[in-house]
Symmetry: C2
Subunit: 207 residues, 2 copies
DNA sequence: ATAAAAATGTTGCAACTGCAACTAATAAAA
DNA sequence: TTTTATTAGTTGCAGTTGCAACATTTTTAT
């Protein structure tokens, strides 16, 4: 899998069906509109999949970092909600067409072959990410959502102390909760000695 | 894709690496414990992926009907939560090992080939399902969750009137909300003339 | 057929969460 | 460097949701 990820980074050298583009902070990387069956892979930087619903509520549907995969192919747009991916930091992104990659390249290039062999694995990583997301969102209280998310970050970082990947405002949009209510709960968590907070650095003090 | 689904149903004739089993209502189809990389396909019937968290809250993580795919391979178990799939009706299920299916069959059987060719598509259907799930769960109120779910069922059924696939008690566990609060909201929706309800048959009256 | 269990339906009340409206602090732009 | 915009942090209040504790109906088991 690692070797595939390394390989991916050199993909334009391997296949002319792939495009690499750079994005500055806050630029829109792609908008989910038509069914272009686009697949994107984030090479470097970070980005968010953002949705605005009909009530104007913003949701950060997913947060992407290096090697994460996204694109229309993963999202059948049932509603009229606006859906786009926005760069959080300067980012580099690869663009493929799923349909083109699914079928053999005319030139029978090695890239196509390797991509096809690893496609399932790539999509499976997405499934895992989404399951984690569902697990967070099904938690019944703001406190449990926060602690659940902190626990994930703590495990990923091999450390009880970790940085939030985005601002507190965006954290609320990610957990699908009101920002002020979240701030209040963060205070309670501090008061109860469950977390320590210093800017966007959090430390889990229990368990 | 249809032909693949049809093909799948005859799979034991095609490959001895596949098992078909029948389950009675309420039987446990599989438990997500070890990383056996199991993939299951529901041939007939219906089933739920159920999770109990440390607070004893039950969540119906997913609801499966014919041709849906599930299994440990899709779920990296990060927490100690109990996770299992339970038959809602009498069901028939195919079991594969992802690892066995990934690699060529010793006998080079046709089933393996077709399975591999369609694996990505199969997993993509899972991603779509999960995205729909996330969209529901990020809705901010009980009313919006109910209407969002009803809208999905209405579209799937090509009809403003449809049956709920499970009991109201389970619907609450699926939407991750309190049952009595949900019942109250259902009453308000009726009072406001937004839905009509007759047992587990719902009709959307607006839009 | 009858008892037991599960699901539905209801309600008061308390707790939690969202909303609005601020101030303070920090970051970005002119 | 100063202004402007964004983010963080607070709080009162109202509305929503969860909890508990029922009664009623339906389903399942004996």
């Amino acid at each position: 899998m690692i070797s595939f990820q390394e390989f991916i980074k050199d993909c334009e050298k391997n296949c002319n069906k792939v495009q690499r583009k750079s994005f500055k902070k806050d630029e829109i990387i792609t908008t989910y509109i038509a069914k272009r069956n686009q697949i994107c892979i984030l090479i470097s930087g970070s980005a968010d999949l953002v949705r605005y619903d009909s009530n104007g509520n913003k949701t950060i549907v997913e947060h992407f970092t290096s090697n994460d995969i996204f694109g229309e192919i993963f999202y059948t747009i049932a509603t009229n909600n606006e859906l786009f991916v926005k760069a959080r930091h300067n980012s580099e992104v690869l663009f493929f067409s799923y349909d083109l990659m699914k079928h053999k390249c005319k030139t029978n290039c090695a890239f196509h072959k390797i991509f096809q062999d690893n496609l399932s694995e790539l999509i499976l990583s997405k499934v895992t990410m989404l399951n984690t997301r569902v697990e967070l969102l099904t938690k019944r209280s703001i406190r449990d959502k926060l602690l659940g998310y902190f626990s994930i970050l703590s495990v990923r970082n091999f450390n009880r102390t970790f940085s939030l990947p985005f601002s507190l405002t965006d954290l609320a949009d990610y957990l699908s909760i009101d920002r002020s209510a979240m701030m209040r709960e963060l205070k309670y968590l501090k008061d109860d000695g469950i977390i320590k907070k210093n800017g966007n650095k959090i430390t889990l003090l229990i368990q």
